[in-house]
């Protein structure tokens, strides 16, 4: 009985489409996390940056009646939250985890506060389809049985996320800039001596993590849901954090983790008529990450200088 349902679910293109969509949603903040952690700044605030992005995206799209401006607004809002994190943790050398928690709390408070002020407690209406991120259908390719709807009929951000993934993987491991980023995260003193501007690199990396999270917020609010609801990210940013660690701080690794987590999430929605609880299935990403941390499937170690503020001239 259970295996019949599982088989039926696993062979439906519907499931895989949803799984890939959710993976892409996780992938964007996860890539942001990878960049930020690689440069040596711990970022647990992707959740808050996404939420701010989602809110700003919906609000700017509604007020300007332009989807593009809405997406830009989301990206900028995410970047702004990241800028705060960067200033506090790089300039003021604050504890980056406290700062991250503060960003998450602030994002929740700020979005709820502004939502109440701007809509008078009514909440925002559902977005018109012209303000929603479109699904791209690749002509005849989308007609391929099974694979067509999965790969060639996805939201536009899905393809953007794939491009960004390849771009960041290339950037980090095949270019000079990537070498600098990794050097700053592993041994900032050495990087500094070699002429790398440690603070600038960290600033740019943290801000790009915010831009990516903001884009993910736009994907969630303007693409998948088409509405803004209070606290709508509901832990996605934390799953992305898990993906960063499970993927061993490598973009492609994080993408693989996002794929597993996305499949788990899609399954948990569709296996409701079996005895498996969707709640128990939702613990999968976190349990897998714990196992990865313990070292049963290859140990995960963060960059050496991750989370340590840089003091010029210190040992």
């Amino acid at each position: 009985m259970f295996f019949q349902i599982l088989f039926r679910v696993l062979t439906s293109s519907d499931l895989w489409q949803a799984a890939l969509q959710f993976s892409a949603l996780l992938l964007l903040p996860a890539l942001g996390g990878v960049i930020s952690e690689r440069s040596g700044v711990t970022n647990i605030a992707m959740e808050g940056m996404m939420l701010t992005g989602a809110y700003a995206g919906v609000m700017t799209a509604l007020s300007t009646h332009s989807l593009l401006v809405g997406v830009l607004g989301a990206i900028i809002a995410g970047g702004f939250m990241a800028l705060i994190h960067a200033i506090v943790s790089i300039n003021f050398k604050a504890n980056q985890i406290v700062s991250g928690i503060a960003i998450n709390i602030a994002a929740l408070g700020l979005t709820n506060f502004l939502l109440f002020v701007q809509t008078g407690g009514q909440g925002v209406p559902s977005l018109a389809s012209s303000l929603r991120l479109p699904v791209v259908t690749w002509g005849p390719l989308a007609k391929i049985p099974f694979l067509g709807p999965i790969l060639f009929q996805q939201n536009i951000i899905f393809y953007v996320a794939l491009l960004i993934l390849l771009g960041i993987q290339f950037l980090l491991f095949r270019t000079n800039i990537g070498l600098r980023i990794r050097a700053v995260g592993e041994h900032p003193q050495a990087a500094d001596t070699a002429g790398v501007n440690v603070r600038l690199v960290r600033y740019l990396c943290v801000i790009s993590s915010g831009l990516l999270s903001g884009l993910a917020g736009a994907f969630l609010a303007l693409g998948i849901s088409g509405i803004f609801i209070s606290n709508m990210t509901a832990g996605v940013g934390y799953i992305a954090l898990a993906a960063v660690i499970f993927g061993k701080y490598i973009p492609l690794g994080a993408a693989g983790a996002c794929l597993i987590f996305g499949l788990g999430e899609a399954l948990s929605v569709r296996l409701q008529d079996t005895n498996i609880s969707p709640n128990l299935l939702s613990t999968l990403p976190y349990i897998l990450t714990l196992i990865a941390l313990v070292g049963l499937v290859g140990r995960t170690t963060p960059p050496a200088a991750d989370g340590i503020p840089y003091e010029p001239g210190s040992e």
Binding site: S99, I103, A106, Y238, S277, T289, R299
Partner: protein, 451 residues
């Protein structure tokens, strides 16, 4: 106010007079920063209200003031609202102690919420299935079971940290979400009340704690004047357990060998190892105790507050575990500090409702205030601002540091070696930045700035 226990310092060989002076100075330093953080956040809150409310600047200011009045009236304005506030304060104290004891060992316990959830759900599971046990057996069993479950949840973190080197921040976040989902599964599965959607069956009456006022009327009431309408004062007797926990924490940290070892590990792990202190064992113990504190917070809230059952997805939305981080930081991880910080955060939480009702300012403002408090503590704006002041305004003269030329050239080269464009971009940030570095490497940064 009673703050002499703020910092336990080592033995000092000083004359009594300078001892007292030192004590006052330390008192000022340890109270000054938290108070400054709160004031800064409150002022920022006023600015936010003024920006978002309509009318002339004067109207906006009165709006902000009336919002704060409502916030205060709603939290500490009357005995009744105080009793509501204390309902929030009880779990905050437990969770705050949980975070604080971990901080003492240099560990970051973000998992208070998950440990609290595990404690509450364990107590709930036992309480529901042991309905015919007498209260004097059931109550201790539930308390111990909840504390133990929390200790297991925290202990896992300790074990992973001590023996596998897994960072506690990551493992606590993962364990939080596992706890939330498992709790939701249990609430909507085996523990579900058939008559209620999304809630467990309530605890049997003999396993619950009465309100303080009811308790007073039943015990001392016959001899002393009774409290009228006792049920309107919501705070229950578990608040006293929270006070006991504060004393236990103080004793544990400052009067036992274990507490001493924990503090050494937190301040200097290397020194602890040289002194023969078992770091691994103590890390495990600290995290287990931290988990037990949080677990107790969950249990006591379940047993003390109507409706004595758990509802699905409450823990996920609940922010006690995260507020606790603010509580511990604001309270300098001392028992008395945790108490006052819990009162502040609990008061904010309770007052938010009336603020929204009376002043039409969204209650979510308090989250922004809390976040700003966290930023302010973490970033240490106060010392940064003091450093930014002109020299004659600084009361305490700092020892002048000798500039080290070697270090200067390194930073100098690094700045120049990166090309003009990048330098210019980072320049704005870097000049503020140097202020905050002065404390650690004064001479070098100041000279670097003059360049």
């Amino acid at each position: 106010m009673a703050v002499p226990t703020v910092q336990q310092s080592g033995p000092e060989q000083r004359t009594p007079a300078s001892n007292r002076l030192l004590w006052i100075r330390r008192l000022g330093a340890s109270i000054g920063r938290p108070v400054f953080a709160v004031v800064l956040a409150m002022v920022a809150g006023i600015i936010i209200i003024m920006i978002t409310s309509p009318g002339s600047p004067g109207d906006r200011f009165t709006e902000a003031i009336s919002a704060y009045q409502a916030l205060f009236t709603g939290s500490f304005g009357s005995l009744q609202s105080l009793s509501f506030t204390l309902v929030y304060v009880t779990p905050l104290i437990f969770a705050g102690l949980s975070v604080a004891i971990a901080f003492r060992a240099g560990l970051f316990n973000i998992g208070a919420e998950g440990q609290l959830a595990v404690g509450a759900i364990t107590a709930s599971t036992i309480g529901i299935h042991a309905t015919n046990w007498p209260g004097w057996v059931l109550i201790p069993v539930l308390i111990v079971a909840g504390a133990f479950a929390g200790a297991v949840w925290g202990g896992i973190v300790g074990i992973l940290k001590a023996w596998r080197g897994a960072h506690e921040v990551v493992t606590t976040i993962m364990l939080n979400w596992i706890a939330f989902f498992v709790a939701d599964y249990l609430i909507n599965g085996p523990l579900l009340d058939p008559n209620l959607a999304n809630s467990t069956r309530p605890l049997p009456p003999q396993a619950t704690f009465p309100e303080i006022s009811v308790f007073y009327n039943n015990t001392l009431g016959p001899f002393l004047p009774k409290i009228a309408q006792p049920a309107t004062y919501l705070v229950d007797v578990t608040f006293f357990f929270a006070l006991i926990a504060l004393v236990v924490y103080w004793f544990l940290i400052s009067r036992t060998t274990f507490g001493y070892e924990v503090r050494v590990i937190g301040q200097n792990p290397k020194a602890a190892r040289y002194a023969g202190i078992s770091t691994k064992r103590n890390i495990f113990l600290v995290m287990a105790i931290a988990g037990a504190f949080s677990g107790l917070g969950g249990v006591f809230h379940l047993m003390g507050q109507f409706p004595y059952y758990l509802t699905g997805s409450t823990f996920r939305i609940d922010t006690v575990g995260f507020d606790a981080i603010g509580v511990a930081l604001l309270g300098h991880t001392t028992a008395i500090g945790v108490l006052f910080a819990s009162l502040l955060f609990g008061g904010l939480r309770q007052g938010a409702g009336l603020m929204q009702l009376n002043a039409n300012v969204p209650g979510d403002l308090i989250y922004i205030i809390q976040a700003l408090v966290l930023f302010s503590i973490a970033a240490e704006f106060l010392p940064a601002i003091r450093r930014a002041l002109p020299k004659w305004m600084i009361l305490r003269p700092r020892p002048s540091a000798v500039a080290t030329d070697g270090a200067l050239t390194i930073t100098d080269l690094a700045e120049n070696g990166n090309g003009g464009a990048q330098n210019g971009e980072a320049g704005g940030g870097a000049s503020h930045l140097s202020d905050s570095t002065v404390e650690h490497s004064p001479g070098q940064m100041q000279t670097a700035e003059e360049e």
